[in-house]
């Protein structure tokens, strides 16, 4: 029941939208970039840029404050991850436990391409051999090529 309540609460908060923070033009670029790389922990699939939750509003003000104090991007990310953990940073670092994420797709791709070679070979071995004569095969081929669709 409580899970439902908290989930509904989260949904309710998420249904609101991001309040606009006024940032000096010189910081606008970095401000936007930073917000898109930080996760809102209340609406966890939204970045700080898009989330409407109260926490996101507060954290956006924090980012603005840190920018105006002259902190670097690394320092701002460190501030966030010190308090909220790595999960708040949107780019997963490449560590052993994320190898499956980063290398998985390409391993699968190579595997698939090798698989294709096997399939083509196996198919040519087992496909029912035709009982057509050579000239009939040529005619069939010609008809097939013609229907190029």
């Amino acid at each position: 029941m409580i899970r439902v309540v908290s989930l509904l609460l989260g949904l309710w908060i998420g249904a609101a939208q991001a309040q606009i923070v006024s940032v000096e033009p010189e910081y606008q670029g970095r401000y936007n970039d930073l917000l898109h790389e930080l996760r809102c922990l209340v609406c966890q699939n939204q970045t700080l840029a898009d989330s409407g939750s109260g926490l996101a509003d507060d954290l956006r003000l924090e980012v603005k404050r840190m920018l105006e104090e002259g902190l670097s991007d690394e320092q701002i990310f460190a501030f966030m991850s010190d308090r909220y953990g790595d999960f708040v940073l949107y780019n997963p670092p490449v560590k052993p436990r994320t190898w499956l994420l980063w290398f998985g797709p390409f391993v699968l791709l190579i595997g698939g391409l090798i698989g294709i070679r096997q399939v083509v070979r196996a198919n040519n071995k087992t496909a029912k051999s035709s009982t057509l004569t050579e000239s009939e095969k040529k005619q069939v081929n010609a008809v097939i090529q013609d229907r190029d669709d």
Binding site: L7, N91, D148
Partner: protein, 653 residues
């Protein structure tokens, strides 16, 4: 009274589904024509009863019957009538009803349009669809009945979630569900083939257009969801790799692989067991999506409020249907063997590459989406898998596929000469690269490697689609006039090329929007202006307005370019009367080559307001591209050979 009729209709539909699932199946095995015929009548009956149930629920919404719990939770007397009707599918219980109605609708369509289908095949297909219906109807009746009463009745409803009070809600879920559920037909055909051990040309000629149509609906459904998010969420984005979005994208990727695999199976009688496996996989992904959205297993801005009990039911159902069909596949698939050969360089192999790329992309998204769940289950700290990850891995996987899209359509079946093929396309390649390098520079005065590659890829696809038609027409008999030659190109060919062309348009939209968007967020005094990408936005004033079920502050923003007035945008900040959350309604000036997007923020002082302005170039091309892809699918499905008995042309001996 009406809700009770609706409830009764649900129960009747369940009874018919039980009959539909069992009697025709037995009839097919025992060759009993009467029993097999039961499939058609039960499918029609089930659809009619579910239509009745749906109408009853819609009626309850229209007349504001707050004695029905679901209506009380999701509606309000002040809610405009079109939203009251679409509120029927605005939450879990009602959307399930939409799901089963769509399923029954497809069953009805199969029953009606199957005059020439072999009776035993039809019987088995309808049986399988009946089995799926049983599962969902039981779930609905047991745990998620939209007709539950509220006693005493509420005096007023809790209103529909304001985020859903948008035209997008009216059409996105119905289209999406038609797509998800449509693949149950291909699934049913696959199971029927596994059961009977037969997969002949009739089977393929039948399942292909059904799969294509389901794909069309799914494409439109996903595109609408994306468009809706853009309109409604207030910050100009169109895809967030949210788990629920991924849950719809995965069946789309697998579905695209399926329609290509079916093409090969139809033409060359090969890839048979792979096509069956794909049919099972696509629908399994649809069911998995249903599970992910309603079980609370993943965090998503989309998910319905959920509880583990519902999740366990759906998972059990999933295990039964998917696990059962995959086991059946393992047991029976070897019965289907290929009857043709092909070389390592051939259209067949290229389509295999297409399938591998699409399935790898699908698996990548599956792993990424479920990754936090895997880590959590294994007690590891959670990694951050979000848009940056998916963007980084998805694009490199898609580039080879886009490259192949030019080769596949013009390659020969059985054996192709790679060198000769590439030679024919080399002019197109050069033009594509030049366009990629020059076009962004010409329009925006700027270019990067990624942008250039993206535009070149789009040009490559577009040019090769046009080339494929031209080449086909050029091979005509010298006596045939040009126009007639174009008319003689089979619709299936036009469909494919239109879809590929649409993909090119889509890519242009994505690349330009990602590369050249701009935005500014600033506090603006009335009379002051903000400039973005050469456009000036002047805040003329902000005043209160009253809507049907909300109060709002509406800003008036004059948009100018080089002192010329383009339009006046009216962004709003709404407070809905019942749920009392603040909603930003952005105001968008839609253009063919760019959108201008303005959102109103909080008042800083009496006459100073926060304003967020976006410049989104070519963003409408994203959805235009999807529309063209869907159109291509429709054109393809309308090909003559699926509609009438094929007239066989004698080949000269």
């Amino acid at each position: 009274m009406i809700p009770e009729i609706g409830h009764f209709a649900l129960v009747m539909a369940l009874c018919l589904a039980i009959a539909q699932a069992s009697i025709p199946l037995i009839g097919a095995s025992t060759n009993n024509a009467n029993w097999m015929a039961v499939g058609r009548s039960t499918a029609i009956g089930q659809f009619l009863f579910l239509l009745l149930a749906f109408v009853c629920l819609a009626y309850s919404f229209v007349v504001n019957d707050f004695s029905v719990l679901y209506v009380a939770n999701n509606s309000n007397t002040a809610l405009p009538i079109y939203y009251r009707i679409s509120a029927v599918w605005g939450a879990h219980e009602g959307s399930l009803l939409l799901w089963v109605l769509a399923l029954a609708g497809w069953g009805f369509a199969v029953a009606i349009f199957s005059r020439s289908l072999p009776q035993d095949l039809l019987a088995r297909v309808l049986s399988v669809m009946g089995m799926i219906s049983i599962g969902f109807l039981l779930f609905t009746l047991a745990t998620s009945n939209p007709f539950d009463r509220l006693f005493p009745a509420a005096l007023q409803g809790r209103d529909l979630n304001p985020l859903l009070q948008d035209p997008g809600l009216v059409i996105h879920p119905p289209m999406l569900y038609m797509g998800y559920v449509g693949f149950s037909v291909a699934f049913a055909f696959a199971i029927a083939a596994l059961i009977s051990g037969e997969m002949d040309s009739a089977w393929v000629r039948w399942s292909r257009p059904w799969a294509n149509l389901a794909w069309v609906f799914l494409t439109i459904g996903i595109a609408l969801g994306s468009w809706w998010a853009y309109q409604e969420l207030g910050w100009g984005g169109w895809w967030f790799w949210d788990p629920v979005e991924n849950a719809s994208f995965m069946p789309w990727l697998a579905g695209t692989a399926l329609i290509h695999s079916l093409a090969v199976t139809e033409k060359r009688s090969t890839f048979k067991s792979w096509t069956i496996l794909l049919s099972i996989i696509v629908f399994s992904l649809s069911l998995l999506g249903t599970f992910l959205v309603r079980s609370g297993v993943l965090v998503s801005v989309h998910s319905f409020a959920s509880d583990p009990a519902r999740g366990v039911y759906i998972l059990g159902f999933l295990a039964l249907v998917v696990g059962g069909s995959l086991t059946l596949y393992a047991w029976r698939a070897m019965r289907f063997s290929s009857t043709s050969q092909y070389e390592i360089v051939s259209k067949e192999t290229m389509l295999l590459v297409n399938n591998v790329l699409l399935i790898v992309a699908m698996l990548t998204i599956l792993i990424g989406t479920l990754y936090p769940l895997f880590e959590d289950a294994l007690g590891m700290p959670k990694s951050s898998v979000g848009a940056p990850y998916f963007d980084a891995v998805f694009v490199p996987l898609m580039l080879p596929l886009i490259f192949m899209m030019a080769l596949g359509p013009v390659a020969k079946w059985r054996r192709e000469n790679l060198g000769e093929l590439l030679n024919r396309l080399k002019v197109l390649a050069v033009i594509a690269i030049v366009v990629g390098a020059v076009l962004p520079l010409a329009i925006y005065g700027n270019n990067t490697v990624m942008t250039g590659i993206g535009i070149a890829a789009a040009a490559w696809v577009i040019l090769s689609s046009i080339y494929a038609v031209a080449r086909l027409v050029s091979k005509r008999d010298a006596k045939t006039p040009l126009l007639k030659a174009y008319a003689k190109v089979p619709k299936a060919m036009y469909g494919m090329l239109l879809a590929h062309f649409g993909m090119g348009i889509f890519i242009i939209g994505v690349v330009f929007t990602s590369s050249f968007s701009d935005q500014v967020e600033q506090a603006v005094k009335v009379g002051e202006k903000v400039s973005v990408a050469g456009y000036d936005f002047i805040l003329e004033g902000v005043g209160p307005v009253k809507g049907p079920n909300y109060d709002a502050m509406r800003g008036s923003v004059r948009v100018e370019k080089s002192e010329q007035l383009l339009t006046t945008l009216l962004p709003e900040k709404r407070i809905y009367n019942v749920q009392r959350n603040a909603m930003t309604e952005a105001s968008i000036y839609t253009g063919v080559f760019a959108d201008l997007y303005v959102a109103l923020g909080e008042p800083v002082t009496q006459d100073k307001w926060g304003l967020r302005v976006y410049y989104r170039p070519f963003i409408q091309w994203i959805w235009m591209g999807c529309l063209l892809m869907s159109l291509g699918g429709i054109v393809g499905a309308l090909d003559r050979r699926y509609r009438a008995q094929r007239k066989t042309k004698p080949v000269s001996a």
